[in-house]
Symmetry: C2
Subunit: 336 residues, 2 copies
């Protein structure tokens, strides 16, 4: 506790002003709180679960310098974490409704001032409106290290409709929504290493688009979201299902912006392993292909077949159209 600051004012009968920490929460977070959050003034939030639904819950953390850049626009920082969590809800086929946030804030770093947190909160308010969720609670603390955010997300799903990773079957098609590699290329663009004339790639890095609103429980055998790199995450989906997977690199969907940059195997490898995609990976049996395509088309979400689940060879087999192996030096990100 020695590094906790004393309150500025000394008093034996405390005044009407709040301690700074509580004033901070009131200024920046109370406006995000839903009714269940009890104005963030209690020890916990209280709510009545939706009757007849299962509840889905997940937590993710982000660290400055690892998951976001120190000079990222503050209105995108909280949103990136919220959207990463919303992507987990999308992967399970759940409808999100609430979230909690803890902040470990660098006390000695003057960048994180009131204006920064106002913009941070503005971004979250915009996303709350966009995605129909509200803040339930959280905690703020100080740290001598970088900013660390941790977010817990809650959602509902009809009983038995949650999509798992372990349901893929041999012969299922391997599908992915949207495009792959934009987030990883966006990071390079923000570092000045590749061109991004339209800003599309940087926006994909700052603001992933969680694929909420699909109802794939009668269509997909298994699902997960791509966050740590396509190849690694295909590996997770296959392994949890007791299978291997063939990944056809030439089928992996790239955006126009990515295509203009990716001119060699090295660039393509970055897309396949770079992470920050937040698209959905799906295992879909052949006889539900039409159902998948029409379901996604109705919701204006692109979906592409990028391979197949195989029973005879564990691992991810990353191949060209001609069947030759595509050279990769890693599969994705690991923090350890």
């Amino acid at each position: 506790m020695t590094d906790r600051p004393d309150l500025a004012s000394a008093t034996d009968s405390f005044p009407q002003t709040l301690p700074d920490e509580f004033s901070f929460i009131r200024r920046h977070f109370r406006r995000l709180a839903g009714k269940d959050a009890l104005d963030l003034t209690d020890d916990a939030a209280v709510f009545t679960p939706s009757p007849g639904k299962e509840m889905v819950i997940a937590a993710d953390a982000m660290v400055e310098g690892v998951h976001f850049l120190p000079d990222d626009p503050p209105d995108t920082v909280g949103r990136k974490l919220l959207r990463a969590n919303l992507s987990d809800m999308a992967a399970m086929g759940a409808r999100p409704f609430g979230w909690l946030l803890t902040l470990a804030c660098p006390k000695a770093d003057s960048r994180y001032d009131d204006a920064w947190f106002e913009a941070f909160s503005d971004g979250l308010a915009a996303d709350q409106a966009l995605f129909g969720v509200s803040l339930l609670g959280g905690d703020t603390t100080s740290t001598r290290g970088p900013l660390v955010l941790s977010l817990t997300i809650l959602g509902n799903v009809a009983p038995g409709h949650a999509l798992r990773r372990n349901g893929a079957q041999e012969g299922d098609g391997l599908w992915v929504t949207g495009t792959i590699g934009d987030g990883a290329l966006g990071l390079l663009a923000l570092q000045g290493k590749v061109a991004d004339p339209t800003g599309w790639l940087a926006e994909r890095y700052h603001l992933p688009r969680p694929r909420l609103g699909l109802d794939l429980s009668g269509i997909a055998h298994a699902a997960m979201d791509v966050s740590d790199g396509l190849v690694q995450d295909v590996g997770h989906l296959a392994r949890e299902s007791g299978l291997g997977a063939r990944l056809d690199v030439d089928s992996v969907p790239l955006s126009d912006a990515a295509r203009s940059i990716v001119t060699d195997d090295e660039g393509l490898a970055l897309c396949l392993t770079g992470g920050d995609d937040y698209e959905l990976l799906l295992a879909v049996p052949e006889d539900r292909t039409t159902a998948l395509l029409s379901h996604c088309q109705e919701r204006n979400i692109a979906v592409t077949r990028i391979g197949e689940f195989v029973g005879d060879a564990p691992g991810v087999h990353v191949v060209r159209h001609d069947g030759s192996r595509f050279p990769l030096h890693r599969q994705g990100w690991s923090h350890f």
Copy 2:
């Protein structure tokens, strides 16, 4: 992403070994996972809420060097955070059932090795058995700063039975469970600043005792847990109820270990403001005093009247038996 380590092994067809991060989770956390956690292999946990109950949810974070000491026994570090969260459940009158954990782990700090996390997990396993909760999910990441832990706790409460902070009424007695100041003195003991021959104080600092198992919904008008300092937290309870409070310092219960150290006003002030108590503050009308005492006695939990809620003077009035003001230079901890 530049500071994320590449995987040690290069491969184009991934081997049967897991990436290190996933192997880490499997080694240390899968054994804590309940059935709803889906073995921690999915994007989220899925569970059926208890029918006819409200759900209670809270989150707290702890940072090395702020909430725990770098050389604290690793088996106590996770437990301290879990118990702090369980104390929030106790304050709401809820019965906890599950929790999620995110870890931002200092990658360059060799103390945080496999043995450290094995002990960390051992401690959590012991507390899971003690408190009847199980791990639902979480996330691990790396940081260049200190260890940051964030924990979300879930519990159930009968509809309308959650204890709020805003229900205290003028004339209600102000009560507290257990003893105050042991955690703050325990920190001093661990720093070698005060004697702690039995180790009682250090244990209170390392392992708070959440006051679960009380059912005070028909007895107390309001409740909260004492975590940031008794005076400050009494202030929260009073303010949220639109009242002031008189705190009788000479009535504040101290343990025998604390009494042997606290010999002057300065020592008593530390107990009143030091935090890390995790006892319950209660607002109880006079005509329920007997019910409170017998309810707590049956559960072998000490409870002491330490003041009263007042309607005519906002703030916390910290006074001696003779009515004189007790000198305080702060009310409690604030992180900002």
